[in-house]
């Protein structure tokens, strides 16, 4: 045996072989490049109630995430109306999505250590829930609570009014107990559009016809600002009847208002809410830490009642035309 071959043998037994090293390095690279080893993001959906709008938001989010990111998310769903304890579910979640105010109320009380995104919730109820459970909106945001509110900015309805009736000089607007504080701001918005404003504030104890009729009579177009449920339902019929009498178009805040006789409606549909939510969830995956945020609705639905438009002699352009300008 030569001295070289024996040294070679000793050298081979003392150091790792290069092929094994390469194989290990290759495997690690595979894992990090494909993320195969990462667990699915565990989403926990809290849903206020198993009814149409809430379910539509839930299913649309799930479907959208499944389509765009197959197997990336695992969803568990709890209905708040089930009234059970949710400690285990919350502990297992990476991200909590609450759909509706009651769901937000339930989730916040656990003060979970994971981000929460609240959707299908209004500005005021998010503020209320945040104050109730975290002390303030800022504190809630600092605790990684976020919200996508459904309140469409009234400025959008005002802009639509001007687009529908470019010659409109006076815009009538109905406010309720929850929206009366917006009057100064709305006056400015309407004035910026070259229109005068006439407001009527309806309280539950008011005679709605006596108060709305003079404003409707003097207006070229009318916008009821959404308020509490009672005011919305109670005044809708009188608004639409008076609008018919005075031939004043109404821009409403819901599809059913449109079907009942408004000229146009601009609102956040469950689909709009779901789209924005699934985008937020997908973005969140790339920056999981950080404070929460409160977001205005990015998307909106707009529909027209063509029968009403014809009876009022209002020519309508395409939906795309209005959408591009709002």
């Amino acid at each position: 045996m030569s001295p070289i071959s024996s040294h070679s043998m000793e050298r081979n037994s003392d150091r790792p072989k290069p092929a094994w090293l390469i194989a290990i390095l290759f495997a690690v690279a595979m894992i990090f490049s494909t993320g195969v080893a990462a667990d699915p993001v565990k989403l926990l959906f809290f849903v206020s109630k198993p009814t149409k709008d809430y379910l539509e938001v839930l299913h649309t989010i799930q479907q959208d995430l499944d389509d765009k990111f197959p197997s990336k998310y695992h969803a568990a769903v709890q209905f708040v109306s089930d009234q059970t304890a949710y400690d285990n579910q919350i502990a297992a979640a990476n991200l909590i999505v609450t759909i509706g105010t009651a769901a937000a109320d339930t989730a916040y009380q656990y003060k979970p250590n994971v981000p929460i995104i609240s959707v299908l919730i209004t500005d005021s109820s998010f503020a209320s829930m945040a104050s109730k459970h975290y002390g303030s909106i800022d504190q809630a945001l600092a605790n990684r609570v976020s919200a996508i509110c459904i309140d469409q900015p009234t400025s959008r309805s005002i802009d639509l009014a001007k687009l529908l009736l470019p010659g409109a000089k006076k815009l009538g607007m109905m406010l309720g107990p929850s929206s009366t504080n917006l009057q100064p701001e709305l006056t400015t918005m309407i004035s910026d559009k070259g229109m005068d404003s006439e407001f009527v504030v309806i309280a539950p104890s008011d005679n709605p016809i006596v108060k709305i009729e003079p404003v409707m009579r003097e207006s070229d177009i009318f916008i009821p600002v959404p308020d509490n449920r009672l005011i919305n339902i109670a005044t809708a019929k009188w608004i639409l009847h008076l609008s018919y009498r005075h031939k004043v178009p109404v821009i409403a805040f819901s599809r059913s208002y449109l079907s009942a006789g408004a000229l146009a409606a601009i609102y956040s549909s469950p689909e709009n809410v779901a789209m924005q939510t699934s985008e937020w969830i997908a973005d969140r995956a790339t920056s999981p830490s950080g404070a929460g945020g409160a977001y205005q609705p990015k998307y909106f639905s707009i529909h027209f009642n063509y029968s009403v438009a014809a009876s009022l002699n209002i020519p309508l352009k395409t939906e795309q035309f209005y959408r591009e300008r709002l």
Binding site: T51, P204, P208, I209, L230, I233, S268
Partner: protein, 691 residues
Amino acid sequence: MSVVPIIMTTRAGRLLQLSPMLLVASQVLSADLPDVQHQRVLTEVDFLVEIPPVSGPTHMDQTLAQTPASVTRIDRATIQASAAVGLIDLFRLVPGFQTYFVDGSRMGVTYHALGDEYPRRLEVKVDGRSVYESLFSAVDWSTIGVTLDDIETIEIVRGANVAADGSNAFLASINIVTRSPLLDSGWMVESQLGSGDIRNARVAYTGTHGPLSHRTTLSFRSNDGFDDVIFRGQPISVDDSSKNSSATFKGLWTPTASDSVEFQVGLSDSDLGIGEREYFTRKLSYKYQYANWSRLMNSGNALQMSLYHNDLDIVDEVTPLFLSEALGVADTSPYWPLPGLPDKLVIDDRNRAESERWDIELRSILTPLENLRAVTGVALRYDSVKGQELFDTPDPLSETSHRMYTNLEWTRSDRLVINAGLILEHKDSAGSYFSYRFAGNYQLQPEHIFRVALNRSFRSPTLLESRQKQVVRYNEAIILDASVISDSEINNEKLRSIEVGYAGYLFDQKVSLDVRLFREQLTDVINERRSGYPDLDNLVNIRDNTDTLDIDGLEVQAIYKPNQQVLLRAHYSYSDIDGETLYTSSPILEIRDLGVHSLKHGAGVLASYRFDSAITLSAMTSYNSATRHYRGGDAENHTRIDLKATKSWTVDRSSVDISFTVQNAGEPYRDFYQHHQFETHYILGFRVAMP
């Protein structure tokens, strides 16, 4: 909700009869007091709230997917597009409905069967107030004081709607919703002049008086009825002209955002020529008062209370008749049937009858669970009739009836909605009985709904049906002639029905389609049977449960309305009656077939087009196959075509319409009686609205 025993007869008992109402009201109000503290925080529930359209057959706001019956809606646009001149012309647009003129004054509307001079099995309401008259056991269309311009919508439920509207809605129900005073302002003047001495006029004023919105209407309608004829070689002077004047007032007050109060008063006077071969004058005087209070709760629940009073006075001016004239025998003749007794006046020149109704109803509309809605109500009704000639007594006859009902709508899933309706009724004369409806709606796709419905209904006899004793007397002891006597043990009519329906939209919602396939089994149907009787002609008609019939049918309704200019409505109905009636019970038993009264095929089309020049052309066609009217004559198959052209102008803010209508542009056809031929009529109309 606990149930207080409802069989009470004392005055204190009648007060206690109201206690179920008070209990319902208190529970609804206490469970859901309006939030007098302003709610500052809005939730998504406030934004997503459904704004209700109009209420459906169950008195809930229901979509196509939720409605448990086939419904035909005739809206304002359809009324204006149609060639209708009077209210009953609109029912030619409804599959399965028969409309006819008994004579120039009396109009009949019935649903696929049993339409006689006074069709009885149809509930008709105006703004929730029943206009069904227990004196006729029917609706007198000349008295209800509603013209075409008063109407906002008409909703017709095809099929038994007893569970929601009570036992008169035995075959179908009609709810006429009049226009809200908020929809118009100022004056409207309207007039129609036409052949057949058609003279119609209407003046209406809509305005406000402080917090009250109101509309006042005065109307006058007249025509000279059917023309004189020579029938089977005999001249018949058809004296069936009619004149009607009416005045109505409708007020609306909304004291708070939650509350609305509507009230109506009306009166009408009619002079009608009535008869088949011999005619007499009937004077009708009708008055009503109606009030309805609605309260909306924060949660969307609602409470309604309605109270109404109808009062009808009838005077028939007939040719007075002495017994000798009726018999053609002098009281000195040996053939005089009452030896020793002198001739006397046996039929007065004036026969008078009255009816009165009071009705109070309390209704709650609740959502006790997320997927469960309920309409629950209790009602108390007092009916009184009086008429010597009809009831053989100068004293009034009265009865009190109660009803409690609930209609539940359970949304079992996104696709399946279950409706269940139950009504418990109690009448002094008929005891207690309950009717129910059970329906399932399955939404195959968002715009295609299939429905299966079962109905079990009872219709109790009216005061006229249960207490009629129409006799001509010589004195207290001697009945000269008995015409109609009600059987003392007359029972409720019964109905079982099953239907399969489809309702849906096609072609991007431009076409709506409704199909109904049904079988109805009616038993103990009230009619008259001839029987022996110890009077001068030895015969009397006994009002009794004499008929049994099965009705199988199919109805199809399609509406195409792609835009404001075009309207096309079409319908077809098939119905086959298989049944029999006990025609004579003594001395000889005779049973007759009811199948001859089938209106096997009915069809109709309304086509209307509005040009840019504000000219509207409309054509209404209706076809009826041959039939025999129930207690009337044979009618051949016929097609009726009505045409209308309207031109509209806007002058300042006023609108002016001139119209020309041709009723029955084709050949004359026989209406209810064979010698009553509906000729072609030409009517010029003028209408101006000055806001």
